[in-house]
Symmetry: C2
Subunit: 354 residues, 2 copies
């Protein structure tokens, strides 16, 4: 199989085809929504090849219901599945034939440019570091989802990969996040802020107080200072730097509170006959507003700083998020994000050496 896909890769490189290994078995809606996402992606763009990594018969059965360009989809059989509840380190070590381990190995072997999975976060984070490996000079690879704001989206970096991080890690997060937002989302000189509990420089915990002056010194990012979590929904910063525990709390509260409020609003609008009529009239306009605050539509979260791209989507990802995540991989490759990260790391190291 590897021989074959290597051949395919060589053919494709001249056409700049992006090859994505997709975990067909991961997430709440696997395999149906995952396979649908892959089909939508390849029917939407010709410059993509998707390797569906999963149990062959199951994936084949899903594929049967679709018509699609056969050369753009290939099944990579994976005997095993890593469950969400499994201890990640053990799972990665022992389940060599799982969709996550096989998919990540394809990235390591350069048979695929990227691996996308809605499966176990823990296994993806561990596998990313252990199998795909870090870019030389990168201390920790952060998980960096996009979160919706009034003005568009912001990158929240790190949101779960490295708890109890050190100041130097956060500085690298700021730089990688800046490169990502500038090149994948096309935001010129993205504003970088650090999550803090007050606007003043002297505020914060030990980590933030130590990191703040280091960020101020960086000449390659547009550091704008502290951001209080209250301001995050206003979109005042493009890259929001924080330690993983705090980032995870922000991400999950963002999603949880939005969902709770939207559901409370729907219930509230159904409470009287008058409001029901009102709801019928107002809901279409309201839906587009609420959709803008639905985190799932922005694709998955890249695990940055690896020798290849690993993207973690929501566990509840549906076809649309999978398709968007695949497209995200194309931009990531086209913009040579990893090349830019490497260049930045080299120049940072040189600066330190001066």
């Amino acid at each position: 199989m590897r021989m074959e896909s290597k051949k395919v890769m060589q053919q494709n490189e001249s056409h700049e085809i992006t090859k994505v290994a997709l975990d067909a078995m991961g997430g709440d809606n696997a395999p149906a929504e995952i396979v649908k996402g892959a089909i939508d992606a390849v029917t939407g763009r010709r410059d993509i090849k998707v390797f569906l990594v999963g149990q062959k018969e199951i994936v084949e059965k899903e594929l049967e219901q679709y018509t699609y360009p056969a050369e753009q989809i290939e099944i990579i059989h994976a005997e095993e599945v890593i469950e969400t509840a499994e201890p990640p380190v053990n799972a990665i070590r022992k389940k060599k034939q799982s969709s996550i381990v096989l998919g990540m190995n394809m990235v390591k072997q350069k048979e695929a440019d990227a691996f996308v999975s809605a499966g176990s976060s823990g296994a993806i984070l561990v596998g990313g570091q252990v199998i795909v490996g870090r870019i030389k000079g990168i201390e920790r690879p952060p998980l960096a989802p996009l979160i919706p704001t009034e003005k568009g989206v912001s990158l929240l970096i790190d949101c779960g990969a490295n708890v109890d991080a050190r100041p130097s890690h956060l500085v690298q997060f700021a730089k990688m996040g800046s490169i990502y937002m500038e090149n994948v989302l096309g935001i010129k000189k993205p504003k970088v802020a650090i999550v803090n509990i007050g606007a003043e420089e002297e505020k914060g915990n030990a980590l933030v107080k130590e990191t703040f002056p280091l960020l101020k010194e960086c000449t390659d990012i547009n550091f704008v200072g502290s951001i209080e979590s209250r301001e995050i929904p206003h979109g005042e910063a493009d890259v929001i730097v924080c330690e993983a525990f705090v980032g995870n709390v922000i991400l999950k509260l963002y999603e949880g509170l939005s969902a709770t409020l939207v559901s409370a609003i729907k219930t509230g609008m159904m409470s009287t006959i008058k409001s029901k009529i009102g709801a019928a009239l107002a809901l279409p306009a309201l839906k587009s507003t609420l959709k803008a605050f639905d985190a799932s539509q922005y694709g998955g979260a890249p695990l940055l700083g690896l020798n290849g791209l690993v993207v973690k989507t929501h566990g509840s990802a549906k076809a649309k998020e999978i398709t968007n995540s695949i497209y995200q991989c194309v931009t990531f490759k086209e913009q040579d994000i990893n090349g830019k990260i490497k260049k930045n790391i080299i120049s940072s190291t040189e600066q330190e050496g001066m």
Copy 2:
């Protein structure tokens, strides 16, 4: 002045009057909304006396427009005002004639049962520790606001007083929070959870991993394990324990995101003629739903574990929040929360000694 108010105190004790020193100069809407809040409180209940601490002429002028039982309101002249931007430690040390320092001194001298302020958070936290002082055995006094949930309210403890706290601090937060929710809000056996980035015991940062087993061992609280921030809006826990940096991020994101979503919804409903008509019909029902998620209606955040009560309200507090905060002081006194905290601390110390 002190002599006089001491006399008043002695008279009142037999009638169980709660004496509240209220910072007339603190917050965005001082003095107008603060004074109005005091008037509403004393006209609503006879068992309260409010000391309006602030610049005499200004407060007198505000009072002129109201009719109220004169024996329930007294002005305590405070020459100085601590501004929000002032470095707290310096402000408390130098502005001895400020409303915050004078009000806290009244609590220390037992001339007042509680001090309520919408002023500088930093100065209130520092003043609480330095002037009012901690209950013997309490290592750190946490700030503990109520946050709205689908089921009612939860106590978020600590949300800003002690960054980089230690496990033993968090254990005391859990106990004090539990006593508060049981006795002030009347929730039997309040469910206590620790903020974490996963449901499993082995998840978390170093602080949470160390604190978790200590909480499990506590026989005097109903510890239910970890809570992910996503679950907080569902009201799954009554007491939500966390370190101050994380708590502050949660509180401010809660308020910021709710406000942003509500404003986005209103804008969305005004976007078409059809939706405008719908909005007119649905808004009254919707408003009551949204109001339940408005954090400001639940009064202020107590700073627990002090020799007296200090309550910090929102900087933007209006009369209603001030009134509610004053009533909160009455319940705090009636339920003898500090007596219960002291008893708990003594029994905890005895247990450790066994």
